[in-house]
């Protein structure tokens, strides 16, 4: 499979996290590995999960959450902004469907708790939206990719400032390794050994128009 030149609008290897390469486009071309040329840079995109694999993983996690917490009593789901929010909403819906009871969902802005403020430009996302008191709740924090663990650390601090949960658990779609802090997930969709040079992009229908997990080299 030789390098393929894509239309300019698809090609931007410098965009750090937001891959604009559409997995559906890759699939219609029947390619596993796919090279995107951008000037001197060459990017390889590989799809590692498709829509049905993501759906099965989320369904399994939903069942695990219910099992581990012995039901949905005092259970709340909190997505870490911005990328954990669609997954939190999906999990809450799956759990509600299985148990026949509504599970409250919130979203948490961790920007003010990060440890890389001196290196990173200030970034603005929307305010935390936690429409319930977290004190004495069983909180499931949700993020799409677990990598260094620093975002999770920030999220734990942000959560503690809002109250004193009974239990905090962590659910992620992808665990890609390379932890820099003693943090591990309670629920994992897929363990994905990666190199630090690679990037893992999760696409959601809600934000990208498709469900897919891609590795970008």
């Amino acid at each position: 499979m030789g390098p393929v030149r894509l239309r300019r609008c698809f090609v931007n290897a410098n965009v750090h996290r937001d891959s604009t390469v559409n997995a559906a486009f890759l699939l219609t071309h029947g390619q596993e590995g796919f090279f995107v040329r951008d000037g001197a840079m060459s990017t390889q995109v590989t799809q590692v999960m498709d829509e049905s694999e993501i759906r099965r993983a989320l369904t399994r996690i939903a069942h695990e959450i219910i099992e581990r917490n012995k039901g949905v009593q005092n259970l709340v789901i909190v997505g870490i902004q911005s990328r954990g929010v669609p997954m939190a909403q999906r999990l809450a819906k799956l759990i509600s469907d299985i148990e026949g009871a509504q599970v409250p969902v919130g979203s948490l802005n961790v920007a003010l708790y990060r440890d890389d403020f001196d290196k990173h430009p200030a970034r603005t996302i929307s305010a935390s939206d936690i429409p319930f008191d977290v004190t004495d709740k069983r909180v499931v924090l949700v993020d799409e990719v677990l990598y260094t663990g620093r975002t999770t650390r920030a999220a734990l601090d942000a959560l503690m400032d809002l109250g004193r949960p009974a239990v905090v658990q962590l659910a992620v779609l992808i665990d890609r390794g390379h932890r820099e802090l003693p943090i591990r997930a309670d629920y994992v969709g897929k363990n994905l050994p990666t190199s630090r040079k690679e990037r893992v992009d999760v696409h959601w229908v809600e934000t990208h128009g498709e469900d897919a997990v891609l590795i970008v080299k």
Partner: protein, 313 residues
């Protein structure tokens, strides 16, 4: 736009619509922190912020200090009284001394227009203008705009009237630039003697008659009559000013039925605004003060962030 690519915030005249929107959005997201039982976030730990005030202030200075403290920064207050400024230390030397102590950001109020601009050239740290002479008071205009946004949803298309002493008012100038950039129609009304000479160069409609100016407006921003400046015969008497340009309940009926009444404070009750309006259903004057803290938190955050790109999930 997700970041403010500038070292200083000196005025709204040089700021883009996108930058103003970013500041307002960021501030809006911080209002949630102000309603928490424990109002403290760790993001500015280790940052030193100096409020350097050559003029008196209660709300602006307290608001900046509170904003800094909520974000865990350390604050140092320097004012004319009790500092080496009284021994004759120059503005420049004062700045250099404080910068040598490791200040990351200066909040400056000065009676000379342009003083913060001068300071911004002297120091490598960030500078926020907290009011310079008769020039600009950007954080006041930003909190005014945030208050309007919260009550009206947006600024574009609104008719906003600014009443009073436009000439001496840095609040008016910053509001005129900010509001017009955000797409509002800005009307001004006041005695001709208190309109600035450059009025035809500002993006405003000028009214002499307050009743006509109030016709159908969405917002009235009532300026303080700066009594300390009023001994130079700008108008015959306080009583005449109050009769012609004071905002009262009867006059307010000409405005839209959901008009907002704002005042940057401190108020001269009974002169530019009657007490029943100041405490009435249309007034959002205390909301303005609360929003001031959120706006200043947003500016501190946006100015003090790093500039690289770090990926950590």
């Amino acid at each position: 736009m997700t970041q403010l690519r500038r070292k200083d915030v000196l005025g709204l005249q040089e700021m883009s619509k996108e930058e103003i929107q970013l500041i307002l959005d960021t501030a809006e997201s911080y209002k949630e922190i102000l309603s928490r039982p424990v109002k403290k976030v760790p993001i500015l730990r280790g940052k030193s912020i100096c409020t350097l005030f050559y003029e008196n202030s209660t709300r602006t200075r307290c608001s900046f200090e509170l904003a800094a403290k909520i974000m865990s920064a350390d604050t140092t207050a320097v004012s004319t009284a009790g500092s080496s400024i009284q021994k004759g230390e120059s503005f420049k030397d004062t700045l250099l001394t404080l910068e040598a102590m490791g200040m990351d950001l200066f909040v400056i109020r000065h009676s000379a227009s342009g003083a913060p601009h001068f300071a911004a050239k002297i120091v490598k740290s960030s500078v926020i203008n907290a009011g310079d002479g008769m020039h600009e008071h950007p954080t006041q205009a930003l909190l005014d705009m945030l208050t309007i946004c919260q009550n009206k949803g947006q600024i574009a298309g609104l008719k906003v009237l600014i009443v009073g002493d436009i000439m001496h008012s840095r609040v008016a100038r910053s509001n005129i630039w900010g509001l017009s950039k955000m797409g509002a129609e800005v009307r001004i009304c006041g005695p001709r003697t208190l309109l600035p000479a450059e009025i035809d160069k500002l993006p405003v409609k000028v009214y002499d008659d307050l009743d006509r100016a109030l016709d159908g407006v969405d917002v009235v921003n009532v300026l303080r009559i700066q009594l300390e400046r009023m001994n130079k015969g700008f108008f015959p008497s306080i009583r005449e000013y109050s009769t012609l340009f004071g905002i009262n309940k009867a006059r307010l009926r000409r405005a839209k039925s959901d008009v907002l009444v704002m005042h940057p404070g401190p108020m001269n009750r009974g002169i530019e605004i009657t007490p029943d309006v100041a405490d009435g259903e249309f007034a959002v004057i205390t909301d303005q003060v609360t929003n001031g803290v959120a706006v200043r938190m947003a500016l501190l955050y946006l100015l003090l962030g790093g500039s690289g790109h770090v990926d950590s999930t």
